[in-house]
Amino acid sequence: MVRLITHNLLACHVKGCNTNNFPLQFRDIQIELREAEFNPDFLKGFMPKIEWKALVDAARQLGDTSLPLEQPEMLDDEFLKNLHHVLLEVKEV
């Protein structure tokens, strides 16, 4: 029901459900794609907040392998478009 940007912010509300209650595990996943407005300035501002490994893992579980395993230092347009797609256009339902 949520986009991967939200999945990257959510934690489990049950105390001690794993070491840091993050990230939530997917179950019976289906995905939905919905176009969103591309805004590179938003993405650049949000980048420092991302739990990168959790995002890449989540994207791969949903079949998207466009993101590199390490967060890149050079933010070129292709990378930002992939990041935009993963964060805001892929919805786990």
Binding site: L9, L10, H13, A36, E37, F42, G45, F46, L88
Partner: protein, 281 residues
């Protein structure tokens, strides 16, 4: 919109059970009618959302029909607000509202404002508009403010809270006492506010030439805030979390705090705007 009538209420059972019956169940029933009356963002809330930096993410705790999720209107994709609410029917509206305007990001999560459902301090801002006044005890209202303070960045987190005031526009002639007998303590007032829902009546009740309408009344619980009570909650919540209240001091010793930037009354509501600050180790 101010209510036409308020009736004193007594919270006579477990507060969670009381809220389930007198708040959550009612919003699920009246969701679409309620939503049709709530569409215009208030100026102070719009201004707050317009002042949020690009790239920031935020939480709308008690989002209702989600009318603040599309703000700021002039640059909606610059920030990302997630709406949280206990009413699944209001969230259905929040998620689909404004679909005629494509490319606007809306995200909603079903949950409780007293829950800990997020990475600690992960949000840059949080708003809670007309929500905390539905919590049935003082402790739960403190808890809600604590959750807001915990959900935003200790370094720069910004928060805006609106609650219903005892001092009402249209009801100003009805003096509702805001202080205890000895005048030393503020105290709010527990009330229920009727919501009249008109539904088409079953066809057999139809009289000749009449539009059949069946009226149903739902009494929603509110805690009407007294003057000073909302900032009092902030002080109590900050104390529990070990935060100083006030401006960031000119000191180098590590400490954390929250500043009350605005504390006011607008159109029958009290509001506070908060800013978190931290002097790191």
């Amino acid at each position: 919109m101010a209510p036409k009538a308020v009736v004193p209420a007594v919270v006579d059972c477990d507060p969670q059970t009381y809220e389930d019956k007198n708040v959550h169940a009612i919003y699920d029933e009246i969701a679409s009618h309620f939503s049709s009356t709530r569409y215009k963002p208030w100026p102070i809330i719009s201004a707050f959302m317009s002042s949020i930096s690009t790239g920031w993410v935020g939480l709308d705790a008690g989002t209702g029909n989600g009318k603040y999720l599309r703000l700021p209107l002039e640059r909606p994709s610059d920030i990302f607000t997630i709406g949280l609410d206990r009413s699944i029917n209001l969230l259905r509206i929040a998620r689909h509202a404004g679909q005629s305007v494509p490319m606007i990001t809306r995200e909603v999560v079903w949950g409780d404002v007293l829950g800990l459902g997020w990475r600690s301090g992960v949000f840059d801002y949080a708003i809670s508009i007309a929500t905390i006044h539905h919590l049935a005890t003082h402790d739960r209202r403190i808890q809600a403010v604590k959750r807001l303070l915990e959900s935003v960045s200790p370094r720069h987190g910004r928060i805006l809270i609106y609650v219903w005031a005892i001092e009402q526009d249209e009801l100003s002639k009805r003096a509702i006492p805001t202080r205890d007998g000895d005048g030393s303590e503020w105290t709010g007032k527990d009330v229920v506010v009727p919501w009249v829902l008109s539904r088409p009546a079953p066809s057999q009740e139809k009289g000749p030439g009449e539009v059949p309408v069946k009226k149903q009344v739902f009494n929603r619980y509110y805690h009407m805030f007294a003057k000073g009570e909302l900032s009092g909650l902030v002080h109590d919540a900050a104390k529990d979390l070990g935060l100083h209240v006030g401006e960031q001091p000119e000191t180098s010793s590590p400490t954390r705090g929250v500043d009350i930037v605005q504390d006011g009354w607008e159109r029958s509501n009290y509001y506070v705007e908060l800013r978190c600050w931290e002097i790191p180790e």
